[in-house]
Assembly symmetry: C2
Homo-oligomer: 240 residues x 2
């Protein structure tokens, strides 16, 4: 069975973002990304700085380690990256085996690549990246992916766009209007992922800014606006 | 048609709590409560201090005022109190008329009183009050209400318990275990609803405390933990 490149596993912790905000979960972070977002808070998953930490693990290896970390103290596993959708059949194996144990699987991916196992996920977050990332959205790829998800068997899925400034906000509106039936989340970003100490005031200032944009914008009546709770609580610490 | 005692209307703003966290919404606050929670953040809805602000309004009056306030800049109305479930048929009229206009209706009530219109609500939050409130839960009333909701036609409903300390946390666990199939939210409270200035540090400290309780507690694997976003952003200001 194919193996999965894993760079870190941790938890249980509380999911800080998106439709699954507040959910108690383990995290499995895969190595490798097709994107290079300027403000990525997990650049160690693709910039080579932590390449020696990558391990090729089977689904069974991962489940053994999660159980060693947390015993029976979790019902949810979030697989993030990097972009976990770069990984093929090893991932299907992991998802199925977790679900067989009654564990729900959440995935976050930017929507740049389809994998058949995406339709098996319990809670799927598609997070296309706005202009401030330096990345360009391939709309035809995203259209195909969104329509496959819609016709697939995903229990629950949503779109999430991180917004750093006005240009990103316009991009977010484009995404929301392109897929109007999909639950849509706006999220403030963290402009400095290396700053030490308490960054909550800075982050809450940005959240207030975004609240105020949405409040006066009728085109965002169905959007939801959320912070990154983990960054408010644990700031820029890793593995939380 | 019966009228509704309304003490304030405001919005659009962003819902800060519970299953509907992050949702853009108008607020309609009804007057009167069967509870007297020690830490109530809206005591003016029952302590008599703002009794001269109460107006008896019909559903049509309310819809006219909401439209004057916000035009077409909202798709959701949250009715809170006080306890809106003290009000009878006027409320059914309001809910139906809002829904006929394509507007979703969210309600928050402590679960101490049933009304038939509760089954018409789009997003219903039942928030039984923990020991720190000074109130006592009548479990047989709550059992009946939860079973009516379950067999009713509510699109989406959840339980939410505010937690100030260890005793409240134990109470929250009792609620969660009594209704294990109902989506369950834990929320930190605001210990001083009159403090002026920036209270976000104090509130985030309590959120970290609650995160850490849930993280080590396997009985809370399916609970979700959230702050009050509006208090993080707008502190103790009213009408936000």
């Amino acid at each position: 069975m194919s193996k999965i490149p894993v760079i870190e596993m941790f938890g249980p912790t509380i999911q800080g973002e998106g439709a699954v905000i507040g959910v108690k979960t383990m995290f499995v972070r895969t190595y490798g990304c097709d994107y290079r977002c300027s403000w990525c808070d997990s650049a160690f998953t693709w910039d080579g700085s932590a390449k020696d930490k990558v391990r090729m693990l089977s689904a069974d290896d991962i489940i053994v380690e999660l159980t060693e970390l947390a015993g029976n103290n979790f019902n949810c596993v979030t697989i993030s990256g990097g972009n976990p959708a770069l990984i093929g059949e090893g991932m299907m194996d992991l998802i199925v085996k977790l679900q067989e144990r009654g564990i729900k699987v959440a995935i976050e991916t930017q929507g740049s690549k389809w994998q058949d196992w995406l339709s098996r996920v319990d809670m799927l977050t598609i997070s296309p990246k706005p202009p401030s990332s330096g990345m360009t959205t391939d709309w035809s790829v995203l259209d195909t992916l969104m329509s496959r998800i819609k016709t697939g068997n995903v229990s629950s899925y949503s779109l999430k766009v991180v917004v750093f400034g006005d240009e990103d906000y316009e991009y977010a509106r484009t995404v929301h209007e392109r897929y109007p039936d999909v639950p849509f989340y706006l999220q403030t970003g963290n402009e400095d992922v290396t700053e030490e100490g308490d960054i909550s005031c800075r982050l809450l200032g940005r959240l207030e800014w975004l609240f105020n944009k949405v409040i006066v914008d009728p085109r965002m009546n169905n959007a939801r606006v959320l912070p990154q709770l983990h960054a408010l609580i644990w700031h820029n610490k890793r593995g939380k």
